[in-house]
């Protein structure tokens, strides 16, 4: 019959379309989003950071890895609120008088979640793992640069032999990138271990679905804390868009978010539904570094003029809604050895202009200063991955103010790779590059002249290219001395030198804000790098 013959033809494309859409959604349970629906004892954490490529913080070593790893791995030592080092997986330690030998005693009766006991051999294995080039560790590797050898002198004693004294060793060991993993876990292939490292933490990694989430569950054999964790599960999701993150928090789909933007922090302050955790990262502050190796900024007067000619305080206050405090130190406010000198940064536009005049930079016809036919233009590549929109706006304000001084700053937003390229090629005058490390030893990495030489990867840390033998000496001695008072004094002098040379314009701590649901209690414990620890968190009521 004609009428019936017609049907298959029209129906086919329509049915195909509809059918496949519906069929796919039916089996959607197996495809995207294996995130468990939030139940009463599952906490959903939404991270705005890039998803790690490997969950083992020994490999590579960046901040997103540490956020995750601190839930299931633990370090030999920890740091308390005052910045003092406390025992953790290592219960005691001693140093030889010459500082070249360290002896650690491992804590008793601790087991990894796979049942392997924590002993000296395990610790040695970990240290070897970090130092092994095959592991491709960067942060941990650098931190253990001075450690030559690690041996298990008996079941619970580890001896480290150093090439030079290292006053920062304990601080380094407190970082998650030197966490202790189960040797059985390390024995697996790297890919396997990257999927689910085995540690002593309050949680264990159940599964990791790329681009989606990492599922953690409670470790029933957890002994190093106050008993088992209250939460049964954690669903760790990656949500790159900040608007979506905060929306998800407000709608209750997630309970904690990181990388909270200043405006959302401010707007959430009013309500009780959402609470705020401020955990500035250790190490350097967020600052603008001036490339002293080239161009106009090689002249200290120009640097000082730029620093004193702009006023960043008003900008910081408004753009950050009061969530960021101005810093006048090279070190983070959580560093107890931080030294700050606000006076150096008082704004004085007239003085700044005079400095520029004295330096020979004369205003040209377009308002921009010139000298010997060269214009006073400065290149400022900005990494959109590193700088949040509020910070980028701050830079633009600085740019505007500098124009008033006759300095033309060119801001170029770049993606991460291109930004590193630009830095590697020394094509910058100003740059803002955060650096997270526990302890004042970060000053050595950032301001010692050795930091000017690029690593084979092209990377180097001393962006200001500070090259002062006196400063080098201070930093080297500070890195080696075992005397805490001397150490404090040396670092103070070092910071003074850095600040007075106007090599940097300190802005504020590395912002590390978390917003969480008012339904949670026990939030607030953070480790030495500012990772919140969820082992003590539970749902209220």
């Amino acid at each position: 019959m004609n009428t019936h013959r017609r049907f298959p033809r029209i129906a086919v494309p329509a049915a195909l379309l509809l059918g496949s859409a519906l069929a796919l959604s039916a089996c959607a349970a197996t495809t995207p989003g294996t995130s468990t629906a939030p139940t009463n004892d599952t906490l959903v954490y939404a991270s705005g950071d890039a998803e790690p490529t490997c969950l083992d913080p020994h490999v590579g070593g960046n901040y997103p890895q540490s956020l995750l790893a601190s839930q299931f791995l633990e370090q030999l030592v920890s740091q308390d609120k005052n910045g003092d080092i406390k025992p953790w997986l290592a219960k005691a330690w001693t140093t030889s008088p010459d500082g070249l030998t360290w002896t650690f005693t491992v804590a008793d009766n601790v087991k990894f979640s796979d049942g392997t006991p924590l002993d000296a051999a395990a610790v040695v294995r970990n240290i070897e793992h970090v130092k092994d080039p095959e592991t491709k560790s960067s942060t941990g590797y650098l931190a253990l640069a001075k450690v030559e050898k690690a041996t298990a002198t008996d079941t619970n004693t580890v001896t480290l032999n150093l090439s030079q004294p290292d006053s920062a060793l304990l601080e380094s060991l407190s970082q998650p990138w030197l966490a202790i993993e189960s040797p059985a876990g390390l024995a697996r292939s790297q890919d396997e271990n990257c999927q689910a490292p085995i540690g002593t933490g309050a949680f264990v990694v159940d599964s990791w679905k790329r681009q989606d989430s990492v599922q953690l569950s409670r470790n029933p054999h957890y002994t190093t804390g106050n008993g088992e964790a209250a939460l049964a599960k954690i669903s760790w999701r990656f949500i790159p868009d900040s608007a979506t993150r905060i929306a998800a928090l407000r709608s209750g789909d997630v309970q904690i978010i990181d990388n909270a933007q200043p405006d959302t922090i401010a707007s959430s302050a009013a309500s009780d539904d959402i609470k705020h955790l401020d955990a500035p990262r250790p190490g350097s502050v967020n600052r603008i570094e001036f490339n002293s190796s080239r161009g106009p900024l090689a002249d200290e007067r120009v640097r000082e003029a730029l620093v004193r000619g702009v006023d960043v305080n008003a900008g910081i206050k408004t753009l950050f809604f009061g969530t960021a405090t101005r810093s006048y130190s090279p070190l983070s406010s959580v560093e107890k050895l931080g030294y700050s000198e606000p006076k150096l940064f008082d704004t004085d536009v007239a003085a700044a202009k005079k400095l520029l005049d004295d330096a020979g930079w004369v205003p040209g016809t377009d308002g921009i200063r010139e000298k010997d036919g060269q214009k006073l233009t400065l290149a400022f590549p900005v990494s959109t991955n590193q700088s949040i929109p509020a910070e980028q706006s701050l830079f633009e304000q600085i740019q505007q103010q500098a124009k008033g001084l006759g300095i033309a700053i060119t801001i170029t937003p770049l993606d991460l790779s291109s930004w590193y390229e630009a830095l590697g090629k020394n094509e910058y005058d100003l740059v803002s590059a955060p650096y997270t490390k526990v302890g004042p030893d970060v000053l050595r990495i950032l301001y010692h002249s050795a930091g000017i030489t690029p690593a084979p990867s092209g990377y180097f840390a001393n962006h200001a290219q500070v090259n002062l033998p006196a400063l080098d000496d201070l930093l080297t001695r500070a890195a080696e001395t075992g005397d805490q008072t001397e150490r404090a004094s040396l670092y103070e002098q070092a910071q003074k030198t850095i600040l007075e040379g106007y090599y940097i314009l300190p802005l504020y701590d590395q912002q590390n804000h978390f917003l969480y649901s008012g339904k949670l209690k026990g939030v607030g414990e953070v480790n030495s790098v500012g990772n919140p620890l969820l082992r003590g968190v539970s749902f209220a009521g």
């Binding site: 494309p13 490529t53 681009q211």
Partner: protein, 361 residues
């Protein structure tokens, strides 16, 4: 049969050409932008990798060879079906793509379905509702078509997730979780589709066979359902094929906003770390998916409208009657060329052009 086989072969050849072009352009595009691919291996740029590690990575992957040599090597592997291993994820590209493909496909299909529903509704309303409705609908269509995904997605989250709480802000495995992302993609597409549908419907409604149908006693709805819709659907289905490509690219933004796993998000991070094999693998998959959908929509259009199926007799017929479009009909005596009376139904068909006669009052 012959003709059909040849056409299929041509199509496949064309598809291979497209895929090759996609792979080549992507390879050079990614490699030529600044950034060291070796870094991708070692956790991204700024990973402070050691010299040995970098050197080893370079040697293993031939990064120190000249670019054209790398390209040829890569092409050779592709021809063998080896998509390579992702630098950053350390997993076979084929696996990564396979995992992510379903998510994006699901999103695209849902978006298509929702877009069609909205477009049909709008087009119908504007055709049936009179002049005011037509103008309003046209305005809605135009606005919808230009809404950017990133804005629309955020607004939808604000309205429906945070505000009304009807849908979750982030992707969940159930149907509720896909509505907002699909809507974000569907609304602009619906704008385009509706415009096309409306014009096609209006054109179809002006055809003479509509009068015949109404003179037969057919109701307006009947005319729509039985006649005009099918005529109007053809171009819209053709547009759908194109739309699929734009949906895939829109998926990049939508997947990021709604934190949905899928090809788009993976592609963004792959490009950021210069993970060449992964970028190429994803691009190829997207190109292949687009080609498949193209073919499907082509087939659907043909199934819907046999006028597009040109047979050999039609070609000859057209050649013979080049200047007299309004003298239709083939041969008044059957059997002149052995067509009308034979058992094989001939495919003689002329485009229903407007007849050359004067418009009669």
């Amino acid at each position: 049969m012959w003709a059909g086989a040849r056409r299929v072969a041509l199509r496949i050849g064309g598809a291979i050409l497209v895929l090759w072009a996609a792979a080549t352009v992507t390879f050079f595009a990614v490699r030529l932008i600044p950034g060291d691919p070796a870094q991708a291996f070692l956790g991204g740029p700024g990973s402070q990798a050691s010299a040995e590690a970098l050197a080893r990575v370079r040697a293993e992957n031939g990064f120190d060879l000249p670019l054209w040599q790398q390209y040829l090597g890569y092409l050779g592997r592709l021809l063998r079906g080896d998509l390579g291993t992702s630098y950053s994820l350390h997993a076979p590209v084929a696996d990564v793509v396979g995992e992510q493909l379903l998510g994006t496909l699901e999103l695209a299909l849902w978006s298509l379905v929702i877009a069609w529903i909205i477009a049909l509704g709008l087009a119908l309303w504007s055709v049936a509702g009179g002049r005011v409705a037509a103008h309003v609908a046209a305005g809605i269509e135009m606005t919808a078509a230009v809404l950017p995904h990133f804005w629309l997605g955020s607004v939808l989250i604000l309205l429906f997730a945070t505000g009304l709480g009807w849908f979750p802000a982030i992707a969940t495995p159930d149907a509720r979780g896909i509505i907002l992302p699909a809507l974000t993609l569907a609304i602009p597409l619906a704008g385009f589709l509706a415009q096309l549908l409306r014009e096609a419907l209006q054109e179809a409604a002006a055809q003479p066979f509509v009068l015949t149908a109404r003179a037969r006693g057919e109701s307006r709805v009947g005319v729509f359902a039985r006649h005009t819709l099918r005529h109007a659907a053809g171009p819209a289905i053709g547009l759908t094929g194109w739309a699929f490509g734009s949906l895939m690219s829109g998926a990049v933004v939508v997947e990021t906003i709604f934190a949905r796993p899928g090809l788009g998000r993976t592609l963004v991070s792959a490009v950021q770390v210069r993970d060449v094999p992964l970028v190429i693998g994803l691009t190829l998959v997207a190109a292949a998916a687009y080609l498949v959908v193209s073919v499907l929509s082509d087939l659907a259009e043909r199934a819907l409208n046999p006028a597009l199926r040109v047979s050999r007799d039609a070609l000859v017929e057209r050649a013979l009657e080049a200047e007299t479009p309004a003298a239709p009909g083939t041969f008044s005596t059957p059997g002149a060329f052995g067509t009308s009376g034979t058992s094989e139904p001939s495919g003689i068909f002329e485009q229903p052009e407007t007849s050359g006669t004067e418009p009669r009052a």
